[in-house]
């Protein structure tokens, strides 16, 4: 990768609680370059949000034990003090949060909230900053941005608030945009609008985009690379072709098999992943997925599998031999997730 923007090396985040140490992120590494998009998929509590809140410097050593390196534009920002981090946040990397209903301040006009973000970084006149806020609202597709900038968040619908959040995040033209479940609270029609908007902005500004989600459909359409997280670790990492057509981790298989899909006729039954996600205090020994894994072997209970690359970038953390994984995927998962007679059947009605 030529132009690495962000590199995370073996990031670990642990929260001390009265019940014990919560290992929210347990050794995550990845890289992302300008203009690329990374999808981060996993269940609640898999550590997706904590990873990126830590990268943003929003989780600090005050509340958690943090180890590893977060190298942003060549510098380890994890070691930076808060006031320097504040200069990076917003201008270098910006984040869009999940809940558009609670992430805007209800007492301030939307335009002023966007302006505040700009003023925190740049010395510009009030008039100029207001014009820029309006311009950003126009860019994210809000009609009558002039009037809308003077309104309060409660006068905006959910989709419009999320657009306003994106406008705010992009107002300083950041190199990296992190969208944490940007569309989970929204209807499908609005979701499509917002994701198209992020795609367009990625093209226009050459921004690197991270989309954190639990929706495998969203990442299939909008992310080139995908990291599947489980219990604070990356279970699998690869391009979207790798993940959807050649997945190598039993957890990814489980996800692919358990989703109800609109592109299939109503099939017999979904095949859920057995059991519950593990506690992050008492993480299972060996591979943390082993209690739920139908292909568990003795070694899985003892040894933690490393994230190893099979070919090129495509890596998975699983003890199963590669040939065995390819066989299982082809026989048990692929028919469900791609090709074959099922697919033909759907499209031919």
């Amino acid at each position: 990768m030529a132009d690495v923007l962000l590199e995370v090396r073996d990031l670990r985040v642990q929260f001390p609680t009265p019940d014990g140490l919560v290992k929210a992120v347990d050794g995550v590494s990845f890289r992302i370059a300008r203009g690329e998009s990374l999808g981060v998929v996993g269940e609640s509590g898999s550590g997706k949000s904590v990873t990126f809140l830590t990268i943003m410097g929003l989780i600090t050593r005050k509340e958690a034990r943090i180890e590893g390196e977060v190298i942003f534009r060549g510098q380890n920002v994890l070691e930076w003090p808060q006031d320097e981090m504040r200069l990076v946040r917003g201008k270098g990397m910006a984040m869009v949060f999940q809940d558009p209903m609670t992430s805007l301040h209800p007492f301030y006009r939307v335009g002023d909230q966007i302006a505040e973000a700009i003023l925190a970084h740049e010395k510009v006149s009030r008039q100029a900053v207001r014009a820029r806020a309006v311009e950003m609202l126009r860019k994210v597709g809000i009609p009558r941005p002039d009037a809308r900038a003077r309104q309060y968040p409660h006068e905006f619908s959910g989709g419009m608030r999320q657009r306003a959040m994106i406008a705010m995040a992009l107002s300083l033209n950041p190199d990296l945009l992190i969208a944490d479940e940007p569309t989970t609270a929204l209807d499908v029609t609005v979701q499509a609008q917002i994701l198209d908007l992020i795609d367009r902005l990625k093209e226009e500004f050459h921004t690197a985009v991270v989309i954190i989600t639990h929706d495998l459909g969203v990442v299939a359409e909008h992310c080139e690379e995908i990291m599947v997280m489980y219990a604070g670790k990356a279970a699998e990492y690869g391009t979207r072709q790798d993940i959807y057509y050649d997945a190598l981790h039993p957890y990814t298989w489980g996800l692919l098999r358990s989703i109800s899909r609109i592109d299939r006729p109503r099939t017999e039954r979904l095949r859920p992943i057995a059991g519950q996600p593990p506690s992050l205090i008492f993480v299972p020994s060996g591979c943390s997925f082993h209690p739920r894994c139908p292909y568990v072997m003795d070694v899985c209970r003892v040894t933690v599998p490393e994230l190893l690359a099979a070919d090129g970038k495509h890596a998975s953390a699983c003890h199963l031999p590669l040939s065995e994984k390819k066989r299982i995927f082809a026989e048990e998962v692929a028919i469900q997730s791609r090709g074959g007679p099922t697919r033909q059947g759907t499209w031919d009605g």
Partner: protein
């Protein structure tokens, strides 16, 4: 499914529900009405699952609550098993409550945090006095086992359970009195995908075992497709299309249905690159003052297309602005309310390879 031969379990005739909009704190003046449900005819047959989809604020939850009579309808009739229950009072309704139950979206707020699972699931027996007190515990434990909970957890509180398990508790509670109809209001949208699948499978199993009828309200079209025999699409208080599940997903007739379907992301990169997209502009208009004619016309791409074809400019077709379309039949079992319905297979292309 041949539904015509059976008598419906639930029948709605021209159901309307509006809420007043008031201004002022002490002297409240009515300044308008929100037409949450605005003239819905609907039949739900015994043993079937009717999916109800639509965007936020389209009135799907209100409709579910009108059916269970948790809300009084403003106009129209609600029939259960052929009886008109529209104006029944509280006392008269009470025995009927056993026949219809609800499962709610949020498994965290729909269970009383100060009650044990045993008493949450056991309360229906006490209220309806169907089971002697000494046998309630046994019944509750049987129910817990049925929905996949450990019966030994009888004395635990809701906070000790995960989201999926709590939804199972809600399900056990709703099954306690062996209802005929369960209105499931977004039962899985708060859950993780792997847990969603567990709950959906459980719903299907229970339906077979107890011959349940479901009204399945959700905004996730993939989930609705998986569980429903028939699907109804709501827009601004009205049903705009209703069809057997497969027909609706393959050949949607209403442009709104088409737009909803085309917006669902497909977890298959190659296929999703193939998909035709119908992007809708703008937000849902206010149900206080819905658009004239077809309510969808300000956002409808098809109506503009029809107008352009007739050389009437870039605005929606005048017919859509003036005349309200009726629900007309298309494919077997399919009705749609549109002046310019979509051609077959408008969203999903034939497989190109």
């Amino acid at each position: 499914m041949n539904v015509a031969a059976k008598t419906p379990l639930v029948k709605l005739e021209g159901v309307k529900k509006s809420f007043p909009v008031t201004r002022g704190i002490i002297l409240q003046r009515k300044i308008g009405e929100v037409h949450a449900v605005d003239g819905v005819d609907l039949e739900i047959y015994p043993g079937e699952t009717l999916g109800l989809v639509g965007e936020t604020g389209c009135g799907k939850t209100t409709l579910g609550r009108c059916i269970t009579r948790l809300l009084d309808v403003t106009e129209g009739r609600v029939l259960l098993d052929g009886q008109d229950i529209t104006r029944w009072g509280r006392r008269k309704m009470r025995p009927l409550r056993r026949e219809m139950q609800m499962i709610f979206q949020d498994p965290f707020s729909s269970l009383n945090p100060r009650k044990t699972v045993g008493s949450i699931v056991g309360d229906p027996f006490k209220i309806h006095k169907t089971t002697p007190k000494d046998r309630i515990k046994g019944e509750v434990q049987q129910l817990m086992e049925l929905v996949g909970l450990n019966p030994e957890h009888y004395n635990r509180y809701p906070h000790e359970f995960s989201g999926g398990q709590r939804q199972r508790i809600g399900l056990a509670r709703s099954l306690a009195l062996r209802p005929k109809l369960i209105v499931c209001d977004e039962p899985v949208s708060a859950l993780d995908v792997s847990i969603q699948a567990q709950i959906l499978n459980l719903l299907v199993d229970l339906q077979e075992e107890f011959n349940l009828t479901y009204l399945f309200i959700a905004h996730d079209l993939s989930v609705v497709k998986h569980v429903s025999d028939r699907v109804a699409v709501m827009y601004l208080g009205k049903i705009v299309e209703m069809a057997p599940g497969d027909t609706l997903y393959e050949n949607p007739k209403h442009p709104y249905t088409g737009a909803l379907l085309s917006a669902v992301p497909i977890p298959d990169p190659d296929l999703s690159a193939h998909k035709k997209r119908i992007i809708l502009e703008g937000d849902v208009p206010s149900p206080i003052d819905p658009p004239s004619g077809c309510r969808f016309h300000p956002r409808c791409p098809k109506s503009r297309e029809a107008a352009r074809a007739e050389g009437l400019g870039d605005e929606p077709h005048p017919r859509c602005r003036e005349e309200e379309p009726a629900l007309l039949p298309h494919h077997p079992g399919q009705v749609a309310a549109c002046h310019f319905p979509l051609p077959d297979r408008a969203v999903i292309e034939a497989d190109a390879g």
